[in-house]
């Protein structure tokens, strides 16, 4: 054993030891409790009585295999981990040393990562820690981090909300509340890529220019808004109706491939649009022509070809006298 000069020897009475090391444990040579610091006494609760044996108070987590304090010091006295057998079951970290002369053993313990749990369970205060302990800083940091994380999460949610609103806006035709060309293109691309069966309607308003020219742009806008409302009413949530030009609309009917069904939907839309609309006491009379294609009718459905085919069907509908719907069968194209 190392020998010390007397001036290197530090003598502490129990009050000073409690202040410097509120979680110390002083054992006799045989590993029985002589005294302990006030904070450790709170952790061990009723178990912490003079004369109690170390191995009855603690389960040794490391060094592995050690049970008595003798074994702990022999295998890893500078760093060990303990778990109280009764009282508060939280991990304690510590170091220990046999004191020169008397053979007594001094252990000094600390809450490792279980600090917050211990503070909460025992309602510990500032006074339960040595002034040099970083416990306050750790508790502070845990709360400060939680606060920052909370703020960041809030920021992310707000940014995500703004992003979704912006995306919705970027996909929407503000006049009619329908989707816009960009949105319709995306839906078409997605359905074509998935090889899904669907119906595509290309619709032009008839006599719209006359309304615009005679009754003014406000009346024209009113008609477009009304058409938007009619399309929303006639379609299901999974369908997509978009205004893609001045008075041009595209409707994508997901899963609808039955010719009669597509024809009747188109005719129902035309019938509704053809009913007179009243704007500021004046009647706006328009109609609509619709060209219909089915994705199945193209060998390899591509958005561009589908739109071109629908356009041909629309041209045929207009040519046949307006206010009509024409389904184009282009098998083998």
């Amino acid at each position: 054993m190392q020998t010390f000069r007397s001036e290197d020897r530090i003598e502490l009475d129990s009050a000073a030891a409690a202040q410097f090391m509120p979680m110390h444990l002083l054992l006799d040579g045989g590993g029985r409790v002589i005294s302990l610091g006030p904070t450790l006494a709170r952790v061990l609760q009723a178990d912490a009585v003079p004369g109690a044996r170390f191995e009855d108070l603690f389960e040794v987590r490391s060094p592995g295999g050690a049970v008595t304090i003798e074994q702990v010091l022999a295998r890893g006295g500078n760093r060990f981990r303990l778990l109280p057998r009764k009282g508060l079951r939280i991990g304690l970290r510590g170091l220990g040393q046999r004191l020169p002369g008397s053979g007594r053993i001094l252990l000094n313990l600390t809450f490792g990562i279980d600090l917050i749990k211990a503070v909460r369970a025992l309602s510990l205060t500032d006074a339960d820690f040595a002034a040099t302990d970083l416990a306050m800083e750790l508790l502070y940091m845990a709360e400060a981090n939680a606060a920052v994380t909370h703020e960041l999460r809030g920021l992310n949610l707000r940014l995500e909300g703004a992003r979704m609103a912006a995306e919705e806006e970027a996909m929407t035709d503000s006049l009619t509340g329908l989707r816009n060309r960009r949105a319709a293109d995306l839906v078409l691309e997605r359905l074509c890529a998935a090889r899904a069966g669907f119906g595509l309607l290309q619709m032009d308003l008839d006599y719209f220019k006359a309304v615009n020219d005679t009754l003014g742009h406000a009346a024209g806008d009113f008609v477009l808004g009304s058409v938007g409302r009619i399309l929303r009413e006639q379609l299901r949530a999974e369908d997509c109706a978009a205004r893609v030009g001045g008075d041009e609309f595209v409707v994508i009917l997901a899963g609808r491939i039955e010719p009669n069904m597509l024809q009747s939907i188109a005719e129902r839309i035309i019938a509704r649009i053809s009913q007179p609309m009243e704007f500021e006491g004046q009647v706006c009379q328009v109609s609509a022509s619709i060209g219909i294609v089915r994705s199945l009718d193209l060998a390899v459905p591509e958005p561009v070809q589908l739109l071109a085919a629908a356009d041909r069907a629309l041209y045929a509908a207009k040519h046949a006298g307006r206010g009509r719907a024409v389904l184009l069968v282009t098998r083998g194209e």
Binding site: K117, M136, Y140, E143, N145, V148
Partner: protein, 205 residues
């Protein structure tokens, strides 16, 4: 006037962002969302909400507060002192009061901890830039706090915050803003009233 955002550069000011968000919370909680909208519209901001984690053009907080003073019919200084009090006393922002209470067991301890405030804040956000704080102990429970900031608002918020924290600790104090970024603090009675309860750890979930 436009608000410039510098979310990814060092050009903007953290202090402006924190104060703007605090002002926003105070106005909305106290006067309602409609008044806050009026402030934003009056300031021609282009935004209706400020983010504490972003950065804004230095000086923005003072400029918005001038508009708020007009809209609310309350002096600039009084608004910022109220913001400081609101930060500590508003139950929805209990976190700020708790972080401040970690500063010490007594109000005097707390005052000393203010010098550590920028360092403490950097524990959680390493790039956060807060103004340096110096406390001078004049003896007999009189102190002088110096905090140099590019914002006029900072000193007034500190006055409000100190007033509310003195109350939290149960101390009776005289706190006054002085010239040259100085604030004088006199503790008249350290135990004037019972301190508000402070548990080191929040109850577990």
């Amino acid at each position: 006037m436009r608000v410039s955002l510098f979310p990814e550069t060092a050009l903007g000011s953290d202090m402006d962002a924190l104060l703007l968000r605090s002002l926003q919370s105070y106005v909305i909680d106290t006067f309602g969302g409609a008044r806050w909208q009026k402030v934003c519209l009056g300031a021609d901001l282009g935004v209706m909400s400020f983010e504490p984690m972003l950065r804004y053009e230095p000086g923005t907080a003072d400029r918005i507060a001038e508009v708020a003073a007009d809209v609310l019919g309350r002096p600039f200084d009084a608004i910022w002192e109220d913001v400081g009090i609101h930060l500590v006393t508003n139950p929805e922002r209990e976190g700020i009061r708790r972080l401040l209470r970690f500063g010490g067991v007594t109000f005097a301890d707390f005052l000393y901890s203010l010098e550590e405030m920028p360092g403490r804040a950097r524990l959680a956000m390493p790039d956060l830039e807060l103004p340096e704080v110096t406390l001078i102990d004049l003896g007999e429970d009189r102190f002088e706090l110096r905090c140099q900031s590019h914002l006029r608002a900072t000193q007034r918020v500190l006055v409000g915050l100190l007033t509310a924290m003195a109350d939290d600790y149960g101390a009776l104090c005289l706190i006054e803003a002085q010239a040259d970024y100085r604030t004088s603090i006199s503790i008249l009675d350290r135990r004037h009233a019972a301190a508000r309860r402070f548990d080191l750890a929040l109850p577990g979930k």
